[in-house]
Amino acid sequence: MDSWLLAIGSAVWLGVLTSVSPCPLATNVVAITYLGRRVDRPRHVVISGLLYTLGRTVTYVLLGILIISGLLAIPELSLFLQENINKVLGPALLLIGLILLGVIPVRISGPGLGESFQKRMEKLGFWGAAVMGIAFALSFCPVSAALFFGSLIPLSLERESSLLMPSLYGIGTAIPVVIFAIAIGLGAGFVGKMFNALTAFERWARRITGVAAAASGVYLTLIYWFAVQLW
């Protein structure tokens, strides 16, 4: 029983350790601003946070199952994800940031697609958080790869747990981000209400999300496409 508690604690702690390490900082900033941006709707912030956690958790569980069942080998999978997902994520975040900021006005024509893409993206809210959780969980960097493939997977194998341990790890990776997002979202909402300027706060929160996404996109693009060493 004690050893199980220790394993459970280790899995969560490995997740937290992954999240607070420097290399996922760029994506964490995007996640925090995205999840916390609906300062006018606290319920929205909390549910988005839960769905972000769910997205991360499901991703790690699936990866764990694929590895533990022997369908995928750790070195190939780890190196593939580290190389390719961040390559995709950089330009994608840049584009999404520019769209959120209205720099790139996108209109999709077709039956039932009259609204601007920007407005539609804003409305995606909850599910965008889940998709973000999946994408960010897949964007491994050296630290997260070491902790997931080198520590969490051996722990899962030892405990014969391809569901529980990766789930707890996923929750651990989301905890710091969700706590920050809720604190910032609710805090800003409270201040906005106090000054009777909730709409203005919400508008600024959305702009900050756009700036964070675009900046992180530029950062990841420079590193993964142009091999620029920024630190």
Binding site: I74, K87, W127, C141, P142, L147, Y224, W225, F226, V228
Partner: protein, 161 residues
Amino acid sequence: MRKPLQLAVAFIVLASAFVLAGTADPGNETHKKSTSDSTVNVQSPPPGETLVVYYFHGNRRCATCRKLEAYSFEALNNDFKSALADSAILWRVVNFETDSNEHFVKDYGLFTQSLILSRVVDGKEVEWKNLDQIWKLVGDKEQYLTYVTSETRNFLTQSSR
């Protein structure tokens, strides 16, 4: 139900476009010099028994990755200076993403930056160990140095039995 689907499709389309469009390869060495770039070439160890300590890295060198390398070399340099000087211990910094070094990925099952101890007797590797706790300890330099030193000492002791 359409909304999540639309977002997922948008993301996948974007992702595919960038993957398909791009062939830019950042696979060059980094711009900054590492602590011991002079040892990047993986030359053969001398005859007799040698401990080769490999620090493996990829094309991109994150701040934590540089710490791993620096701390590892510091641990060896602090406690095995004479062994390093007379080549009883060889320190090798290797980019496993270059073509000639890709075999190390399979040889040692590398999936990220790693520190490997390899015992070589008369030019042939007889034993190796991945010091897989380095990532957990990198936040505490003292613990990290102690870990690398004690693992290296144990590995050396085993060989002299």
